[in-house]
Structures are given as C-alpha cells and as structure tokens.
C-alpha cells in the first residue's frame, strides 16, 4: 500500500505539472495522440485505427498541415487494459497531445478519460460503444465516431415519436441481454421525451408455441406501435399473430430483425415492419478511397474500426482547423458546429459527444425487401 502510494504521488504531480505546458509545447506542431491496443490479444482492434491516423496525417501534412502547422503523431499502446490506459493517458498528456484519437476498448477508454478531462484534451474513440461514456455527462471531452450500444433504441424511439408521431407504445422484449437491453433503453428514452407513454412493458419467453395472450394484451393496451427488442424468430411469431388478429399496430425492431430470415419466415406479415440496421456504406466513395489507401500503404485489407478511426482522425483535425486554434473549448464548439465528410458518412457531433448520422438507420419492409424508411 505504502509502496503504491509512493509511486502514485509523483505521477500525480507530474500530470499536474504538465497541465500547464501543452499550449507552450504545441506551438511548433499539432500533436495527435493515438491510444489503443497495438499489442496483445486485442491488437487487431487497435492497429487499424493507428494505420488510419497515419494515413490521414500523411495526407493532411502533404496538403500543408493544419493551421499552417505540421501534424505529429504520438502513438501509445494501452493493450486495452484499464490499468495501463491511465498511464498511457498520463504519458500523452505529458507529451503535450493536442487531441487524442482513442482509446479502443470501452473499459480502457473510461479509465483514461478522467486524466484527459482534467488536462482539457478532446478525446475521440472510433470503437468504444459503452452508452455511459456519453450518457453519464461525466466526460464532456469525449466524442466517438461509432454508434453507442443504445443508439438503436434512440433511433427507433426518435423515429416512432417524431417521424411517425405515435403517442402510445408497447415495449416488448425476449428477456435476453440484447433484447432486454434495447427495450430498457427504449423505455427510458420514451419516458424522458415526454411525448409518448409506454403503455406496456413485457418480456416474452423465447421459443414458446404461441404468443396470442401477449398479443391480446398489446391489443388491449391500445398501443399504436410495438417496439420489440429481440431476435427474428420471436419477432416473426408476434407480428404474424398480430396480423392474424387483424391488428394494424406498427411493429418496430432492431438490427437482428433486419434479416433475410425474418422476411422469409414472416412473409406477408413482415410487410410494413420497421427495423433499424447498420447504415449501408458501400455507396460512400470516401470509404472505398480510404480502404484503397490502406491497401496501397500496407498491402492488405483494413481491419476492424478502420473506417471509424479514419473518420475520427479527420473529424479531430477538421475541428482544429475550423476552430482556428488548439483551444479546448474552441475545438469542442467546432465539433458540434461543423459537418465533416468522412468514410462513415457526413457527420457532426451532438452535445453528448455522439456522432450524428453514423451507424444505424431505419428500414421498412416494402414488397418483401428492406428499404430505407421514408425513401
């Protein structure tokens, strides 16, 4: 215990000391910190982002840098471990990072964020999906270019309340981690919005031979829409039984329902069902270009979170450029104020730090196929 304290105190002092230094150090170059797993068993999650940062920086520097200054990379390995990530963060702060791209794993990111926040450094993760990171409000310096785990629920609720204008929603789930998690977030968002009420919140038993009792209950609740968290076998059974009972209640669900198997099994009953699903990036020329750059530079296809990492690096440097300075508040304002075209789409950030227009979009079944809703 004593030993640990002895090691801990100087660290703190060091971090405190460098708190006042970044501005002075960053005068010559803009330092883009890159933190994530670059070794160890989760290295495959972190290395693509490091590659992305390298490619983006090379391109930006070739075009004259940002604010007339060259961009320099500071790459640090946190092996996706929270206890290492705090040290990684302290090191990056000490080295005078202007902004940080990272970390990769949610746990490591959470551990490191406090250090950056106290040092007033903007952090942007391409891969940390834990909802609490933005939802808790504890880390105003945190942004991400990937949809958080609750993004689907948020999107579905927004869609049901604002686009379709429903006032009464029945939230049904399958009691599993995925389904219940989605349903609980949806319920919370509906209640917070104040625009609609949750008239029913129920879990059904997966694999049951018949769901007519719960369907009767939905009917009785006079819900205008059913928001379902769960997998497609239950979704198709419930929606088929609803249609058999001549109910026209809308059915809204998540990415596990946006599946060919659902269309095949639910057949006619699937018509008109809404489901959120990953945004289709195949038509984005920037994504194709980013992938091509990777293939040229590293002679292989990019790995996981590469596009998100690429987008984050672009968004960070773009924000510094738009802010016209490396000031913490100015960068934060620029992130929420300006759109930036990236491989994951044209994005900007909301007040919580989540990228708007990234990850998921709503689909609807029309003539036996999923098409983007409203198109």
């Amino acid at each position: 215990m004593t030993l640990r304290k002895i090691f801990f105190l100087p660290n703190l002092a060091l971090a405190g000391f460098f708190l006042f230094c970044p501005a002075a150090q960053a005068a010559d170059t803009i330092k883009l910190g890159v933190a994530g797993a670059h070794s160890g068993d989760l290295a495959s999650y972190g290395i693509p982002t490091a590659h992305a940062a390298e490619l983006v920086v090379k391109k930006v520097n070739a075009a004259g840098g940002v604010l007339g200054r060259k961009v320099e990379l500071l790459v640090e390995d946190d092996v996706c471990k929270p206890e290492v990530a705090t040290n990684t963060a302290a090191k990056l702060v000490a080295d005078g990072a202007t902004v940080v791209l990272g970390h990769i794993c949610s746990g490591a990111t959470k551990a490191a964020l406090g250090t950056y926040r106290d040092a007033r450094i903007v952090v942007m993760s391409p891969s940390a999906t834990n909802p609490e990171l933005t939802l808790s409000g504890l880390y105003p310096n945190f942004y991400r270019t990937i949809a958080s785990d609750d993004a689907q629920a948020r999107l579905e609720v927004d869609f049901a309340l604002n686009t379709l204008g429903f006032k009464k929603i029945a939230v049904i789930h399958d009691k599993g981690d995925y389904g219940k998690g989605l349903a609980e977030f949806a319920k919370k968002f509906i209640e917070e919005s104040g625009k609609a009420e949750v008239v029913l919140f129920e879990g059904v038993t997966p694999g049951a031979v018949d769901y007519s009792a719960v369907v009767q209950k939905i009917k009785r609740s006079r819900a205008e829409a059913v928001l379902f968290g769960g997998y497609h076998p239950e979704a198709s059974k419930i929606v088929s039984q609803m249609r058999k009972k001549r109910m026209t209640t809308a059915f809204i669900s998540g990415d596990s329902v946006k599946d060919e198997a659902f269309l095949k099994v639910a057949a006619d009953a699937a018509e008109g069902v809404y489901a959120s699903g990953p945004r289709d990036l195949s038509n984005n020329p920037l994504a194709a270009q980013a992938r091509q750059e990777h293939r040229e530079a590293y002679k292989e296809d990019p790995g996981q979170f590469y596009l998100e990492g690429y987008a984050a690096a672009q968004a960070l440097l773009n924000a510094i450029d738009k802010a016209g300075s490396t000031d913490y508040e100015a960068i934060r304002t620029a992130l929420t104020a300006h759109d930036v075209a990236t491989p994951v789409g044209t994005i900007r950030f909301d007040q919580r730090g989540d990228a708007v227009g990234v990850g998921f979009t709503m689909y609807q079944v029309k003539n036996g196929a999923f098409v983007e809703a409203g198109k």
Binding site: A208, V209, A213, S236, K237, K245
Partner: protein, 300 residues
Amino acid sequence: MDYFFELLLSGLTRGSIYALIALGYTMVYGIIGLINFAHGEIYMLGSFTALIVASVLHMKGFGQAAVVFCSVLSAIFYASAYGFTIEKVAYRPLRNAPRLSPLISAIGMSIFLQNYVLLAQTADFQPFPSLIPEFPFMEPVAHIVGSSDLVIVGTTGLVMLLLHLVVKHTRIGKAMRATAQDRTMAMLVGVNTDRVISATFILGSALAAVGGVLIASHIGQINFAIGFIAGIKAFTAAVLGGIGSIPGAVLGGLILGWTESFATGYISSDYEDVFAFALLVLILIFRPAGILGRSEVQKV
C-alpha cells in the same frame, strides 16, 4: 369481460397444443412406465416431414387440399416409423434394465435426433406454409379467434375422443390396458406385449405428428429445437393431469395453457413460466399423482 374471453380462447389453443403432445407422453408412461424424452423430437420430425412434402407438392402444383392431406399423412407415417424404430433400438434392449437406464437412453435419443435434424436442415428457422386456410366464415371473429385456433382445438377434442374409444372399446386397447396393469400377467394370458408396446409408440408418435403439423402451421416456422420446449411443457401438462391418464393429459394441457394465458394477460408474461410451474408444484403437493392420476402401489 371481452378480454377475459379472449384470454380464455388463447389459453384454450395453447392448452390444446400441449394436450396433443402430452397424450403421447402419457400413453407411453401408462404402458411401460418410461418417460419418453424423445417424444418432443418426434413432434419436430413430424413437422419437418410435412414441410418437405408440402414444399415439394406445392412446387408440383397440387391443390391445397391434396397438399394438406398428403403432408399430414406422410408426417404421421414418418413419425410413427421413427417412434417404432426408437422403441426397438433404444428402449427394448433395456426393458429389464434398472429404470434409470431407459431414461438416459431416451435423453440420448432426443439429443441424437435434434442434432441429426440440425445437420440435415441447418439451425435456421424454416418458414412453414400455412396449411390451415383462413376460413371465410371465420372472418367476422378473426380479430378474436383465428381459423387455426379452431382447427387445433377441434382436432385435439376429436383425437382425444378417438383415443378414448380405441383404448376402451377395441381389442388392441384392451391389450394396452392389460399391459399397463401388469405386463407379466398380460404375457401369461397370451398378450403379445412387445407388439402392444410397439403399437403404443406408433399411436403416440402419430399424435405427435398431427400436433407438429398443426402447431407449425399455426406459428409459421420450425427449426430443429422446437421439440424441446414443446416437449417440456407437454410433459408438465401430462404430470399435472396425472401421467398415464388420457383425459388427464388433455385436462393438464388445458390447465397449463389457461394458467399461462391468464398469467400473461393479467399479471405479466415475464412470469408466465413461474406461474405455470408454481401451479404444478401446488397441485403435486395436494395430489401427488396429478389431477386425474390414480395413486397406485408402485409395482416396480
């Protein structure tokens, strides 16, 4: 009050589904005192057979009536063949072994059949054509009770009646009852008990196949695992009603269906299984042999 009747009806459908499968459990148990855990898999095999036959006939352009007739008939035939074979292969050699051995053999058979279908048909849910048409005369009440509910409830009633007649008024039925009462004694008076047991398995499997086709048509999808949950619930229903008793299986199925339906309707579907099994425990405390079961002195 409408809501109450709606729940009553949905419980009736669900209960009839359980009852159809429970009949097979109860018959086999009545005759040889074995819980045939592979029964749920027979039900699953029946529905797969119907699916395959129906798909082929649909492709060949047969009419709806012909498709239904052929697929139900082939499901019954195929499932009965399986039931007959399973008994020969997995239970007959263990006839005189300790009680636990055929039970383990039954569980093994269940796992074997599930994996066999998993390999042959993949784990994906397959869409099942709706063999039960939407009757035009049901349209005014379709929002409360569908055509398939009607067919399922009707079939269960009919099957129970037929089974009752077979057991009480035919030669093979008499032999079944004799075997159930005392196998050795039945053998001594000239009953071919092996043949009776085979007949029981064939009959039970045929019922499971009928159930499989009806239920698959009702819910519109099947995969290799559907037999497991249906089997567990039907087994519960059989125990509830008094295992070994044919009217008991139907009564047990209905009570289980209504309990689940009302628990879902008035309390929460999160707890439907909790209520179903709480009821089972409660009934078994007061009537250890089930509602219609006779507590007999154990013969074994």
